[in-house]
Amino acid sequence: MSRKLIHFGMAILVLIILAPIYITFVHSFMGMREIMLDIGGILGGGDQMVSLPLLPSYPTLRNYKELLLYAESFYRMFWNSFLQSVPTVLGQVLVAAPAAFVMAKYNFRGKRILFWIYLAVMLMPFQVLMVSEYLILKNLSVINTHLAIILPGIFGTYPVFILMKVFLNIPDDVMEAARLDGANTTTLLWKIGVPIGKGGIVSVAVLDFLECINSIEAPLVFIRDKSLLPLSLFFPAISSENVGEVFAASIIIMIPAVLVFFLGDEYLETGLQAFQVKS
């Protein structure tokens, strides 16, 4: 009985989580008139009742047509999102993996302090580091370029923290045996660390990609040129004129994120497990 109750409760939770996605999907196939009839009260700020139908009464592909055929800038923003996300993820993995490997498997003076610094920086919200990051980027003359988003992303502390926990799972005996065979640090990382920690690395990459593609604060602060803005920053600009196109854009931008998630879901699980269980 209690098991059924738990299942029922979980089903309700799943429905609540899926509801926004479903609403977005359904409304992306509605015409402006129907959208305004449903949610016009929210958009217009009036006291009109909001209704959320299960299916569109008059399904149309107009929003997708307008977006995909006539919104040239949509593509620019779409590719901007990728131009900022992909190098950030690649850079993050390249920087975080060696750093995490050394932190996990080597002992050196100040290691513990360094770990606590990493942890403290990881816990700080973007707003705290915003000004100092801005000053550094300004001195590097990369403000208002894609690099302003990529560079701080690459040197993020969060992946190091996760990968460190992943590399801690590598048995010391294996490391010792490799060392006796003449392996140096780089060889240890590439031949032992990366293969064993592959799940963690991929999970970090997937999580970072999702975070980058949804990032709002950094582009908002570091980029002024509208032609360099990622798609995530235009979503809040919803008005009654373009809400249909916004729904359609939300669905389209969701596709790569969902696909990347499905590609990495297996590793995501193992990575997160490794994060919890030490050998």
Binding site: E66, L67, L68, L69, Y70, A71, E72, S73, F74, Y75, R76, M77, F78, W79, K226, L231, F234, F235, A237, I238, S239, E241, N242, E245, V246, A249, I255, P256, L259, V260, F262, L263, E266
Partner: protein, 234 residues
Amino acid sequence: MKNKIKKLTYIILVVFLLAMGVMTIVSRVINESYVPIVETMTSKSGFLKVNAVGRGVIQFGTFSDERMDNKVFVEDTYYVKGIFYEKDFLDYVALGEDVWISVDGGNSVVQGKLVAKMYDYKEDFIEAVVFLEEGQYTVGTPVEFVLEKAKVRGNCLIPNETIYEDEDGNNYVYLLQQRDSITGNSTIAVKTFVHVLVWGDSKASIEEELDANVKLIVRNEILKDGLKVREKEW
């Protein structure tokens, strides 16, 4: 099975990205070829050149008026005494300006000079006296006259070629507006009603005050409210 799903996901992702790449090019081509290019003009404040029209009667003799101080005809001469329909049109007109007078029922036009203008507070119009060029005229003949160098001050003057008139006689213009949205920065034509105060030869003075940066789209048959347009680059 799991590997097949993974492979399929890879293929879908690659196809999706390729499709987005192709659509980027297609969208660019469509935008360049199908979004109409429009010419724009801006509003400004200043003087609007207008024709001041009036009517009067040919008279002969001397003329004096207590509002004219010493500006009185002392010699017998032909002149037209009449009124201008729009009193505001004469505010910036100096005496001595040429006036074209239609005589003989419009069969012939003679030149005259504005020699007096007096505001009639009771009737709220401008009385005018126009000195006729030498010739023989029939006293008492009603005539119409036009002063072509009249001007009025307008807070907002817009080009006539940007103004439309609907079936009910209402005037409207199309303004070029930037729209920042999910679809990026696009420009659209926005229909806006205006109240024309005075029509000039090339411009019209309107009641509404448009910012000098506001761009008005030159008349174009395809325009409609909300239509995406591209501004012609010079």
